[in-house]
């Protein structure tokens, strides 16, 4: 199972590093990066909102927050995932609604 990079790849890597250094490609330029970050800046607000909702769910003892999935898009929070009872489903929905900056909650949680 152990992975060993073949020598040729290592050599190429070093060459690339040298190339990058000599060209100073990224260091001083403000060109866009060749690698897309996994979290895009434009999604940041939605993500923060979703995580705030998730945080409130974690704090609610009556709920198993791990099984409730939260997403947000333009201040609309989409709840999905699973709970044990209908009242837990409603509770999760009302908790999400109370989080500041949440415009609307789309409660798609399934009762198991």
């Amino acid at each position: 199972m152990s992975y060993k990079a073949p020598p040729i790849i290592r050599v190429i890597s070093y060459l690339l590093i040298l190339f990058a250094l000599s060209g100073c490609a990224g260091l001083f330029s403000h060109e866009p990066f060749t690698h897309e970050p996994l979290i895009k800046k434009e999604d940041q607000e939605d993500l923060t909102l979703a995580m705030q909702v998730k945080a409130k769910l974690i704090e609610t003892k009556e709920l198993s927050a791990a099984a409730i999935h939260v997403e947000a898009s333009n201040e609309v929070v989409i709840l999905s995932g699973f709970v044990e009872t209908e009242s837990q489903r409603k509770l999760a929905g009302s908790i999400a609604e109370k989080v500041p900056n949440v415009k609307q909650v789309d409660n798609k949680i399934k009762v198991k």
Binding site: M1, S2, Y3, K4, A5, S13, L16, I17, A20, L21, A25, G26, L27, F33, T34, H35, P37, L38, I39, K41, Q44, L47, T48, A50, M51, Q52, K54, A55, K56, I58, E59, S64, A65, A66, A67, I68, H69, S80, G81, F82, E84, K110, K112
Partner: protein, 650 residues
């Protein structure tokens, strides 16, 4: 009514005896009359080919030779019972007083064939006197019963069982006491069986007060059971005082003998004391081991209801978790110092050769419908991939429903608390598990794994999953739910290699530079799961100079990984050529491929990471056992990270 019938029989016996007394000269005529009587009453033919002779005294001695009793019509064997000679004496004085006392009975070469037809019909069930079997018959008192060269064959075509036994009575060599010996050989439900029984004299079976001694040795395959002790009132099975010892390759093989469903486990050995009272079999001072785990305690089995009820209270010094993997279809470990049967070693080999990791073998959930149980188990130490201090669990099985609550493990000051519910009445079986990880100290785990990691930290989190399926593979392929975890401290490279069980070797070079400080400040993982596919919702690992992210999915249906771990340097001034690491392929043999990118990019903004869930979860994992002080100065690593995040959001 039965009593009247029995009085009738007693009267009949008397009449026969009187006739017998009168017909001194023509005893063979009496013989024929008696044979005819029995033939008529049972519907089977009783033939007496030999002579009947009477030796007259006050206790006349009667000898009948060559007795045959016809077998059931469906059987291939013509006779159910053969007797070379029956010798008996009757006490005439007692007979006049109305009591039938037989000072001696000698059975010479009794040959008994007990059979069950392929439809399960027994040959010993005679069409008559069915209602009388319920009442206890007032049988004549036998003072001495002697058996010479007895043979018994038991043949059950419906259950692949065939046992032949030799039995006889003999004087014990030491005390001159009469003893009964029985030796049997054959197969029980297809598996070979050998049995040796030494017991007290047969007549003592009916004597109420004296404890009846017995020693039983039973072997079936590699399973050996020895029982020794006494039984008072054996026919009622009342006062049982027996010591037992047993060992075998797999408790599952005991299911046929005990009539209770037993799980498949590694080789075991147990001893204890048996007693029986009011439909309840008690096992006291049970002591023994299964594989590399030890058990002690008391067990009782109540029978007589629709399902036997097992109550057990067990303690253990050490439980080796891999001993119980067989229940869910995993072979035990077979390395040095591990205990496994030959069959289980074979299974382990097959498992190693399979391209899949998750056990596909169906779990025997149906067994849970055959019993009700309430079992508690406390163990001081648990041996597993993650060494733990303590296990405390209670299993309740009721009408096919299993609840394991609590199912708690302790690691130093921390705990992993779970509860599991399983409903075997649904097909496929539905189950649910909830787990809470609280205040588990990372350095405790690492120390036990013999990794020197000075950095202290905490792990906490929770998980809830619902499953549908009859095997672990099926269950995980249907998993709904999710997992949240937070961790502080620890060396990321060590953790990836050791905790992940991955020997990723130099692939990690792509993630870290040698000079990198890979000490984790804070790691947060959120894995929402639907239909067996675990999405990497949020996966953030914060180290001193890099934030690692991960995206992708873990597919439990196909056992496939598709992940990328992406290092994002915090400080642009530190030149870094690190590339993301792609983890793809099967669970069994994942591929670790560094991404092709090796070009510098911008510094990562911490403002991209929302701090809220980390704060909430962090508060939760701080919960710890009452009365325990946290002297861990480094436990605020996550809060430092959270502060930085909050700062970045301003």
């Amino acid at each position: 009514m039965a009593i009247i019938k029995w009085i009738g029989i007693a009267l009949l016996t008397l009449v026969i005896l009187v006739v017998l007394l009168l017909a001194l000269m023509s005893s063979n005529w009496v013989r024929d009359i008696a044979a005819q009587q029995i033939s008529e009453r049972t519907g089977r033919k009783l033939t007496i080919n030999g002579d009947l002779s009477i030796n007259w005294s006050l206790t006349p001695h009667i000898r009948v030779e060559q007795i045959q009793f016809e077998n059931a019509a469906w059987s291939k064997q013509p006779d159910m019972l053969e007797l070379a000679a029956l010798d008996l004496s009757i006490d005439l004085i007692e007979l006049i007083h109305g009591r039938v006392i037989l000072p001696e009975i000698i059975l010479t070469k009794p040959n008994i064939i007990l059979e069950k037809s392929p439809n399960g019909e027994p040959n010993w069930e005679l069409p008559i006197e069915k209602d009388e079997t319920k009442e206890r018959a007032e049988l004549p008192i036998i003072e001495r019963l002697q058996i010479e060269e007895g043979r018994l064959r038991y043949h059950d075509l419906s259950a692949n069982t065939e046992i032949s036994a030799n039995f006889e009575t003999a004087k014990g060599q030491a005390d001159g006491e009469e003893a009964t010996h029985l030796q049997a050989k054959g197969k029980l439900k297809g598996s070979p069986l050998a049995l040796k029984l030494t017991a007290g004299p047969l007549v003592a079976l009916r004597e109420a007060k004296a404890p009846y001694p017995l020693t039983l040795d039973l072997k079936t395959g590699d399973t050996a059971i020895r029982v020794k002790g006494t039984v008072t009132e054996p026919l009622q099975f009342k006062g049982v005082d027996l010591q037992f010892a047993m060992k075998g390759p797999d408790p599952e093989q005991l299911s046929d003998i005990t009539g209770l469903p037993m799980p498949s486990l590694p080789p075991y050995q147990f001893k204890g004391y048996l007693s029986f009272h009011e439909n309840t079999l008690q096992v006291k001072k049970l002591n023994g081991r299964v594989g590399d785990s030890d058990f002690a305690g008391n067990v009782s089995v109540k029978i007589g209801e629709q399902r036997p009820f097992i109550k057990a209270n067990l303690t253990s010094k050490k439980i080796d978790l891999d001993d119980f993997g067989l229940i869910i279809g995993l072979a035990p470990e077979t390395g040095p110092g591990e205990t496994a049967s030959a069959e289980q070693k074979e299974q382990a080999k097959k498992q190693a050769a399979s391209p899949y990791v998750l056990p596909k073998k169906s779990i025997k959930f149906d067994d849970l419908q055959k019993i009700n149980a309430d079992i508690t188990l406390q163990s001081k130490h648990v041996e597993s991939k993650l060494p733990m201090d303590k296990l405390s669990t209670r299993a309740i099985i009721k009408n096919g429903h299993l609840i394991l609550d609590p199912l708690n493990f302790k690691i130093a000051t921390g705990s992993i608390q779970s509860n599991l519910e399983l409903d075997t009445r649904t097909k496929p079986v539905k189950s649910k598990i909830e787990t809470k990880i609280r205040h588990v100290r990372l350095n405790e785990i690492l120390r036990r794994l013999k990794i020197s990691d000075e950095s202290a930290g905490l792990i906490g989190g929770e998980a809830t999953f619902w499953f549908k399926g009859n095997s672990v593979a099926e269950m995980l392929a249907s998993a709904d739910g999710g997992l949240l975890m937070l961790m502080t401290g620890g060396q990321l490279d060590d953790l990836l290699v050791e905790l992940g069980g991955l020997d990723v070797g130099e692939a990690l070079v792509s993630l870290f530079d040698k000079e990198d400080n890979t000490e984790i400040n804070c790691a947060f993982v959120d894995l929402p799961t639907t239909g067996g596919i675990m999405e990497i919702g949020n996966f953030v690992i914060d180290t001193e100079d890099t934030v690692f992210f991960s995206k992708g999915s873990i597919d439990f249906k196909k056992e496939q990984l598709d992940l990328v771990i992406d290092p994002n340097p915090k400080d642009l001034s530190v030149f870094s050529a690190r590339a993301p690491l792609y983890i793809k392929g099967s669970f069994k043999e994942p591929d670790f491929t560094p991404g092709a990118r090796a070009i510098v990019r911008g510094a990562f903004s911490l403002a991209l990471i929302p701090s809220a869930p980390i704060v909430s979860l962090y508060a939760l994992i701080q919960e710890k056992e009452k009365g325990q002080k946290d002297n861990n100065q480094q436990s605020d690593r996550c809060s430092r990270f959270i502060d930085t995040l909050k700062e970045a959001h301003k």
